[in-house]
Symmetry: C2
Subunit: 336 residues, 2 copies
DNA sequence: GTGAAAGCGCTAACAA
DNA sequence: TTGTTAGCGCTTTCAC
C-alpha cells in the first residue's frame, strides 16, 4: 500500500480511502490511486485491515463436513456457498470424516483463523468445548445433526418422520419381515432413523424381534456384505430400509449381484443420482441437503448480525419418491 | 495474547514462544502459559503472526473449481485437501461455474486473502491476468485444464488419448455412424475429447461427415433433448460417445426413456457412481480426479518450496471400463 | 479533502 | 532464559 501511495504521490490513508470506497476523496486523487494500484497489481490485504478495524471481521466462516467429497455434504457446501457469496463471505470447508479428534482440530484451526462464524456437522457426543468460544462471541450453527448438550441453533432433516414414512410404505405394501441397514450408531441422524423405523413397527403391531437390525455396518462395502449375509440366512427379510446414501449403494450391489432386486423391496433414505434409471427404480425418502446448507447459512448470518433470535432447530421436510423398488408387494399385500 | 501474558505473569514474547513451540523457555513458565491460555480459551491469531513473520505465509491456498457440488470437482477437492492437510495448509475452495467473470472475482478474493498458492480450473481463454501475480511470487498450478497463453504447471487427464480409446472401442465393435455428445466448446477438456474423437474416425477412414457432432449442448437436460432429437432424425447413429459426466446422465435418460439403451451403444468419458448397476452397464473412460487433486497439490507444494522445477504438464492416464453399453455390436461387427 | 501518528495482535531483533 | 522495542500492513483518530 505504501508503494501505491508513493506511485500515486499521496498518503497511505488516501489510498486506503480509495480502495475501500470511502468518501471524501477528490476525483483526481481517486483516479490517480486507482491507476497506481492497477499498475502495481495491488490488492488490499483483508487481514491486515481486519486487525486494526474495530470488530475485526475476517468475512470468512468455517464449514465442517463429513467429507467435501460426499454428495450429501457437497450439496450442503454449495447451499452455504450460494448464500455466503451474496454477502462476500468466503467459506472454509474442511472434512472431519466422522472422527471426533479431527473435529476438534478442524474447529481449532477455524478459530486460529478468526472466522466470523461456524457451521458444523459433528460426531462428538459433547460439544461443550464450543461453549467458551460461543461466549466469546463466535456464532455457531449446527447442520444435519443438532448440537447435543449445548445451546446452539440447528438445521436438520426430518429424519424421524422420514424413516416413519419409509417404514410405513414397506408395511403398507405387505411386508412384515423388514431389515434396517443402518450404518454407524454414533451418528445422530442414523439413530433417529432407526428410532422412526422401530416406532412404526410398533404402531403396526409388528414385533421388533421380527425385524433384522443391521447397525454398526460401515460403508458401502460393509452394507453389501451384511445384506448378502442376511439374505443367505434363515428367514430372510422381504423388504429393506437402507438408512443413508452409502448403505443404499451397498445394498443395491448385493441385491443386483444375487439378482434379487425384483424380489426384495428396498427403500432408501437420501436420494442418489441415477437411482431412477435402475431396474427397478429405487424408491427413496429424499432429503434436501442444498436447502439445509442455505438455511444454516441464513441462520448463521442472522446470528452474526446479532439479531435477537430464539434458540431454534429448523427442520427440513423429506419427500417420499416412489420408483418401483419400494412398491414390490410383500406376502401380506392387500391386507395392510 | 496480552491477557494470557498477564494471567501467566510473563511477557508476551514468552507466550508467543510457548504457543509456537519455540525452544528456550523453562518448563515452569511453559506450564504456566499453557494453563493460562487454556483458561482463557485462547488460540493464536495466525494472520496477525503472519503479518510480522518474514515470508508472511498464511498457510492457506485457493482452489477454484467448477462447482464444489460437482462429483468430479469434489474428488479433486478431496485430493487437494488430503495432501494439504499433511502440511497444515487450509484449502479455500470456491466454485466459478464456468463463468469467466466469476473466475476473476474468485482469484481476486484469494489474493486479497494472501493465499500462499493457487490451484485453478479455469474457463478463460487468457489467463494473462495471473502473470503479474505469479511474478510477485504466488505459486500457481492449473488442474483439469492447462493454462493457455501463460507459463504455469498443469495437471490434466489424458483427454485426447482417452477419447481416442473410447472412439476406437465403438468402431471396433462394428459402429460406423457415431455421435459425439459434447457440451460446452469453451472448455478445453471437451475440445480435446472432440479432437480425439475425430482423429480416430480419420484413422479408420470414416468420413467426419458421417459422424454427428453435438457440441454446444448445455447440461444434463440439454444432452437429453439433443439425444432425443438426434435419434428421432434421419439416419440416427448406432453408437454415442458422451464426453463428460452430465452428458452421460442426459444421454442415459434419453435412451432409457425411449427404451433404446440396449440398441444404441454408449461410452462415456468420466466415471459416475452406479453406472455399473444399470442395465446394460455403462462403459466409460474413467478419469482419476482424486489423483489430479493430489498431484496438483504436490506440485504446488514443490513450487511454494521454491524448488527448481521445469515447467511441466503432468498427465494422468484414463482407464477404459467395459460394462456392456460400449460393447453392443454395431452393423459392421466382425469387420473391424 | 488530506495526511501524520498511533495502534490492532503478533513476532524479529536485540538487550538484559 | 526472559522481556523490551520496533514494525508487519492496514485503519482509526485527529490535526490541518
Amino acid at each position: 500500500m505504501r508503494d501505491v501511495a508513493a506511485v500515486a504521490g499521496v498518503g497511505v490513508k488516501t489510498v486506503s480511502r480509495v480502495l475501500n470506497g470511502e468518501p471524501n476523496v477528490s476525483d483526481e486523487l481517486r483516479e490517480r490511486v486507482t491507476r497506481a494500484a492497477e499498475a502495481l497489481n495491488y490488492e488490499l490485504n483483508v487481514y491486515a485491515g481486519g486487525l486494526r478495524r474495530s470488530g475485526a471481521r475476517t468475512n470468512a466462516i468455517g464449514l465442517m463436513l463429513e467429507s467435501v467429497d460426499d454428495a450429501f455434504s457437497a450439496a450442503i457446501h454449495r447451499g452455504v456457498e450460494t448464500v455466503m457469496r451474496r454477502h462476500s463471505i468466503i467459506v472454509l470447508a474442511q472434512s472431519f470424516e466422522e472422527d471426533a479428534d479431527r473435529e476438534r482440530t478442524v474447529v481449532k484451526e477455524f478459530l486460529r483463523r478468526r472466522v466470523d462464524g461456524l457451521i458444523l456437522t459433528t460426531v462428538s457426543r459433547d460439544q461443550a468445548y464450543l461453549s467458551a468460544e460461543a461466549a466469546r462471541g463466535t456464532s455457531i450453527v449446527f447442520v444435519d445433526r443438532p448440537a447435543v448438550s449445548v445451546a446452539f441453533d440447528s438445521v436438520v432433516s426430518c429424519n424421524y418422520d422420514g424413516a416413519v414414512a419409509a417404514t410405513r410404505h414397506l408395511l403398507h405394501h405387505g411386508h412384515r419381515r423388514l431389515a434396517y441397514v443402518g450404518g454407524d450408531h454414533e451418528i445422530w441422524t442414523l439413530r433417529e432413523r432407526e428410532r422412526g423405523f422401530y416406532a412404526e413397527l410398533d404402531r403396526w403391531g409388528v414385533p421388533r424381534s421380527d425385524a433384522i437390525g443391521l447397525t454398526g455396518v460401515l460403508g458401502e462395502e460393509g452394507a453389501r456384505m451384511a445384506v448378502h449375509g442376511m439374505l443367505d440366512g434363515q428367514d430372510p427379510p422381504t423388504a429393506i430400509f437402507a438408512a443413508h446414501n452409502r448403505m443404499i449403494i451397498g445394498t443395491l450391489r448385493a441385491l443386483h449381484e444375487r439378482g434379487a432386486q425384483n424380489d426384495v423391496a428396498l427403500i432408501g433414505f437420501d436420494d442418489v443420482q441415477l437411482l431412477d434409471l435402475l431396474e427397478p427404480g429405487v424408491s427413496v425418502v429424499a432429503q434436501d441437503p442444498h436447502r439445509l446448507g442455505e438455511l444454516a447459512a441464513e441462520r448463521l448470518l442472522a446470528r452474526m448480525a446479532r439479531k435477537p433470535l430464539e434458540l431454534e432447530t429448523l427442520t427440513v421436510p423429506t419427500t417420499l419418491i416412489e420408483r418401483g423398488s419400494g412398491e414390490i408387494p410383500g406376502p401380506f399385500a392387500g391386507e395392510g
